[in-house]
């Protein structure tokens, strides 16, 4: 039972987004109903050794960055150059690509928040950013040098640890902005992005910090992509823009994508007192575990308990539910039915932004929270692309004797998903994300009234 605490506001945002040069391009393309998913030359180069070839990837060039490769170790990105002069060289030298995106997103979020240097460098300012995977693009050539080529460990230099450690994104951001408060990372697979923001929310709510840079990131990595490809869980056989198709009958997997979402959180009263532009107020955050011992399979009862926890002592009546909606066969069905079981089938809309940019893994929850902030601002619901036909038959698990959820097929809830951007009065949005290991997370945000 959790109650009380301080109100928390979101006052800034930033990040890195596929096929977009900045936040405003991202917003424009999303509300145009565009897809940010493209054919990717990196998996294509592996020909028949890889199944999926589409991704919402981000190149170094698109971010104004350039990798400088080692003259000693083949394929080892020794450091990066920022051609736009945003990040000092010394900070770039300790960062992998995801950490650089985190630093860029942080600069943008702090600028939007309007925090002074004194506020940013305060003991009351924290950094909580996480990533789903390791620093794979750094580790692969470093390990190859040592284990396969049998060469000295020192040839990889002294930055394989700082550029690949679990909390590298937070560490690099903290060294850049020089905050004196908390610096750590939460990991919860594909719920990482929302999990870090939820944890940051709690730190402010309970008075441990006044402001926090929080978010999630997944740096472009063919190594990460190959891991999921091996599991046979990635979308295959569709044109890029049609590949991510949450809730559609013919969906056959998610699109493995990459990106970064950073938000600036601040104690509401402090933000209000300094006249900050409040992008949203966080009404509540709740997370739990399925408790069924299953690493991968989603849990209807776990998601129902998630909603119950979110609604505990808090007024939750969202106009939009931003779902996890990955485009996987079982995940989407369980999620839609759990949402309907709690929310009924009218007076709200479902937004599934992964239909536009795929699944950014550790970045997903944070980038999708940013899409929710944009929906609040624009008073428009993002579409669910490619949900052409929902299953008119009952799902297999709905026919089981112990199924306690809705008894209608997914097609009965077609009206909750719009194929186009939709105008709507939006006062509250619930954001949902789940991850391997049976972790579930939910956050409700509202317009500041």
């Amino acid at each position: 039972m959790v109650s009380g605490g301080r109100k928390v506001a979101i006052v800034g945002m930033g990040g890195a987004f596929p096929d977009c040069k900045d936040l405003s391009t991202f917003k424009q393309k999303l509300f145009n109903g565009d897809s940010l998913i493209r054919s990717w030359d990196q998996p294509i180069a592996h020909e028949k050794n890889i199944r999926s070839t589409v991704s919402g990837y981000i190149t170094e060039e698109e971010m104004g960055l350039e990798a400088i490769y080692s003259t000693i170790l083949p394929g080892y990105p020794e450091t990066y150059i920022d051609h736009l002069g945003r990040i000092p060289d010394s900070n770039l030298s300790t960062a992998d690509i995801g950490s650089i995106w985190s630093m860029l997103g942080t600069q943008e979020a702090i600028k939007m928040a309007g925090w002074s240097t004194l506020e940013t460098e305060s003991e009351q300012t924290g950094v909580v950013i996480g990533s789903g995977g390791a620093g794979n693009t750094i580790l692969r050539p470093a390990w190859h040098n040592f284990f396969e080529l049998k060469r000295k460990s020192r040839l990889a230099g002294s930055h394989t640890v700082d550029r690949t450690m679990t909390y590298r994104d937070s560490a690099n951001v903290s060294c850049l902005i020089k905050n004196r408060g908390v610096c750590e990372s939460i990991g919860s697979a594909c719920a990482t992005g929302l999990g870090n923001i939820g944890y940051a929310y709690r730190l402010i709510k309970f008075g441990l910090q006044d402001r926090i840079i929080a978010g999630g990131v997944e740096g472009t990595s063919i190594e990460t992509f190959a891991g999921f490809d091996a599991m046979q869980v990635l979308s295959k056989g569709f044109a890029p823009a049609q590949s991510s198709r949450p809730f559609d009958m013919n969906r056959n997997g998610f699109v493995c994508s990459f990106g970064c979402g950073i938000v600036a959180l601040e104690a509401y009263d402090i933000a209000k007192a300094r006249g900050a532009n409040i992008l949203a107020v966080i009404d509540n955050y709740h997370n739990n575990s399925d408790g069924d011992g299953n690493m991968f399979f989603p849990s209807f009862s776990g998601q129902k308990r998630l909603w119950k926890g979110l609604m505990n002592d808090v007024h939750i009546k969202p106009d939009v539910v931003k779902v996890h909606g990955t485009s996987t066969p079982v995940g989407d069905a369980i999620e839609l039915l759990s949402v309907v079981d709690v929310m009924g089938d009218k007076d709200y809309q479902i937004a599934a932004p992964k239909s536009q940019f795929g699944h950014m893994l550790g970045g997903a929850g944070a980038v999708e929270l940013i899409t929710a902030l944009m929906m609040l601002e624009k008073q428009q619901v993002l579409p669910c692309l490619n949900a052409e036909q929902l299953n008119p038959e009952l799902e297999g698990f709905q026919k089981s004797a112990d199924w306690e959820g809705p008894k209608q097929p997914l097609a009965a809830y077609r009206h909750l998903l719009s194929p186009q951007t939709l105008d709507k009065e939006i006062n509250q949005i619930v954001c949902l994300n789940y991850g391997f290991g049976g972790t579930n997370s939910a956050m409700a945000i509202s317009r500041d009234h």
Partner: protein, 86 residues
């Protein structure tokens, strides 16, 4: 190999080490201290050593790297000493 030739080669290496303030890479002498004068992070010394091995086609002993001083002359001496060992 002349000592100045080695120093010039070291400066070329230092230009690729991005944690070092590049404006300080003028008038590098044998007495220049990587850490005290160039503010080189101590963790960066191993990068410099590895790049030095490649550039001058030598392979240092681990103990020699452990005992390496932080002045330019220390690494110049080590290069010459290692080359002499063959």
């Amino acid at each position: 190999m002349e000592r100045q030739e080695i120093i010039d080669g070291l400066v070329e290496i230092l230009k690729t080490v991005r944690t070092i303030d590049q404006t300080k890479l003028v008038n590098i002498t044998e007495e220049t201290d990587f850490i005290a004068d160039l503010n080189t992070p101590s963790t960066e010394m191993i990068n410099i050593a590895a790049k030095t091995e490649q550039k001058f086609d030598v392979e240092f002993e681990d103990d020699d790297i452990d005992d390496l001083g932080s002045k330019v002359k220390d690494i110049v001496d080590l290069i010459i000493r290692t080359k002499e060992k063959g």
